[in-house]
Subunit: 416 residues, 2 copies
């Protein structure tokens, strides 16, 4: 049997058992994992070094190598995150609704684990521990598939998790890593409908596209963020500039950073100079529409491609519009339904923007950088969903649950 | 441009407009559709007759023709259902949660329409009106694709709906029918990720399998029901027999009817004769395991295929087990995660069954036939979801909604 099928079967067998464990049993296991990670730090770092050495030999970029590197401190941080996770409320087992029907049937809607979560992700080995622990906390078994460049690290981390689980009351096999990182195995992974209840990809656009297009398992699409902020006519100048600088430059490589600023032309005619100057001071490369180009002939003209691009870099497109409707139209045409903001003093325009912009999170007078499970107060984040089914926006522990109806009768049968 | 793309674009353009309409505006439009259906009854019946004539020419089964037939009464029933729908609560626009973050950000989670719903279904033309009206009630635009055998009927019904919409405050183009019923167009329909937010198939196993395997659009899987009832050792005899007869024979062709009865061997040794006799009186064909075969040599032996089959007919498989765990194991192996019941007087076994059986709805001492949006009291039913994402079990209006976070600030930016 292939590595994939063997592990899929193993993990599936644990799902029912895991789903019946108490919150205390799950929390104790998570603490054991934290302890085991710290106890085996030097071995984990040795294994991680094998990945780093290979990556260097292959001439990988420094930024990629930085994402791969584990340090004593990073492992301590992982362990601390696990100990924090224990304090979060377990969303499973909760009665969400209950009612009685006229025929006397008692119906309860209960939050239950999804079952088996498939997770496919790139580079960072910390996702291995993060994904595994969030799944265990919610009573889910998990089948992981990381990237080949982090294989030694991921294998070590999963072994450590399994060693911790074998001391716990949870099934040891509830966390499994697919070690075959070939593309063919990835494709087969996406087809495991009888073994996986959901597939969550975490990584670049290309990975997510491949999963969405190929998967037979239901997918939660995460990540892509072509985000905008619209500076309305009545926007406060310093607030607008501060928010744009923050949303673009505080961490340009993340999905909730903005890629295009849309500016009302009346605001632009007075304040565009100041905005452009501030952005240039921050070394942001600008791609602007024709109207701005006329005033700032030194800037680069934006093309159709710029409106579509998630730069994830210190590049920003700027477009002028004559009213809020044009701004909304542009966002709904080019946005990736992630996070979209308006800066304005007009409550009427806030309402119009909130009701018309199709996105997971809409903002008034705040940076889009707050689209994040921790910033929302969820205490954890599985990812940021950009689809509309199941979960939308930052996903906390509840996103890893489904529901089950429990119906109690005294012999009721259906008439008619 | 193809019929498919033209209609996908049309319908997509209406989604934002539709999403902003008030409950009153949506309800008024639904009443107009009811009136228009009744006013155009004779024309609808004429068009329906063209489908019936073609079906007869092609030598279709009577049962299929029966599903196609519209009558004055069936149209009145459709119109009445629409007038009932008006009284249901509109789930959109509701603030589901709201909180303030320590930095002063105000976060609201709002129920919003999904956007554009794609619906692919077989035969019955009443689904056209049903699907369209449930979508409109929840502010969703809808792209319909019915079967070729109901094409004239579906075209007529959608034209009638559009004529009603053109008198209403909702956009006329919010309901569209794909008239090209080729398999190629169906495949292209499943790929319309930029136009559809969800795809809901309603029909047989083959259709649903094709959608799940081919769709790039998120799917809500509905329908397949390989349902079981387990008669535990302590089950009340007459209650058990009544429930089994009801769950199998009251309407064998539906997904919440049972296909296999699992019987505790101690119960079986005393009461199997009575159960078999009652089922035979009802003309149910039985396929039984070896243990029952020894006692009832006149019955047919069940094969592996029987455990896997959703008969949707007056056929029932019967299996004996020595304890509840074997029953649960059988159900989790062969069940389609739809509806599963236990008949018992042991509360301990109810809890074990409820916690261990992986299904949308679990029953104690009641017929599985109650898995239905109307029986649950939802007042409407989109379908019965057998997947765990988004919605599970009978889907009411809320299943046609997503959420959106609306965040209000006073200039907050992210530090760090």
């Amino acid at each position: 049997m292939s590595d994939l099928m063997e592990k899929a079967k193993k993990v599936k067998q644990t799902a029912v058992i895991l789903g019946k464990k108490s919150t205390d049993q799950k929390n104790s296991a998570i603490i054991l994992i934290a302890d085991q990670l710290e106890a085996e730090t030097s071995w984990i770092l040795d294994q991680n070094k094998r990945d780093i050495d290979e990556a260097k030999q292959k001439g990988f970029h420094d930024s990629l190598i930085d994402r791969l590197i584990l340090t004593e401190q990073r492992i301590t941080e992982m362990a601390d995150a696990l100990r924090q996770l224990v304090h979060l409320t377990d969303p499973t087992g909760v009665v969400l609704e209950s009612w009685e029907r006229p025929n006397g049937l008692q119906i309860e809607k209960i939050a239950v684990p999804l079952g088996v979560v498939g997770m496919i992700y790139e580079a960072r080995p910390n996702v291995t521990v993060d994904a595994a622990s969030l799944c265990l906390k919610t009573g889910n078994a998990v089948l992981l598939r990381g990237s080949s460049s982090a294989l030694y690290s991921n294998k070590a981390l999963v072994e450590v998790i399994q060693r911790a689980l074998s001391k716990s009351e949870l099934p040891k096999d509830a966390v499994q890593l697919i070690e075959d990182t070939s593309r063919e195995t990835a494709s087969n992974f996406f087809k495991l409908k009888d073994y996986l209840d959901v597939l969550i990809p975490r990584g670049g656009k290309k990975l997510i596209k491949a999963v969405v297009e190929q998967s037979v398992v239901p997918v939660i699409e995460t990540g892509a963020g072509n985000c905008h902020i619209f500076i309305d006519q009545s926007a406060d100048v310093s607030m607008a500039i501060d928010i744009i600088i923050n949303a673009k430059t505080q961490r340009p490589s993340v999905c909730n950073a903005i890629e295009t600023v849309i500016v009302d032309e009346n605001w632009a005619s007075i304040h565009m100079d100041a905005l452009v100057k501030k952005l240039q001071d921050k070394k942001v490369e600008l791609r602007v529409d024709e109207k701005i180009l006329q005033m700032h002939t030194d800037l680069v003209a934006a093309t159709e491609e710029d409106w579509e691009t998630e730069y994830l870099d210190e590049i920003l497109a700027i477009k002028t519009v004559s009213n809020i409707n044009e701004a909304i139209e542009h966002i709904n045409k080019y946005g990736s339904r992630h996070s979209e903001g308006i800066i304005t003093n007009s409550e009427e325009n806030v309402v119009e923007f909130f009701n018309s912009v199709d996105a997971a999170v809409v903002y008034h007078n705040a940076s889009t950088r707050f689209t994040d499970g921790f910033e929302f107060g969820f205490g954890a984040e599985i990812g940021i969903s950009t689809q509309k089914l199941h979960a939308r926006g930052p996903m906390g522990l509840q996103s890893l649950t489904s529901t089950k109806y429990q119906v109690r009768g005294i012999g009721q049968i259906k008439n008619g």
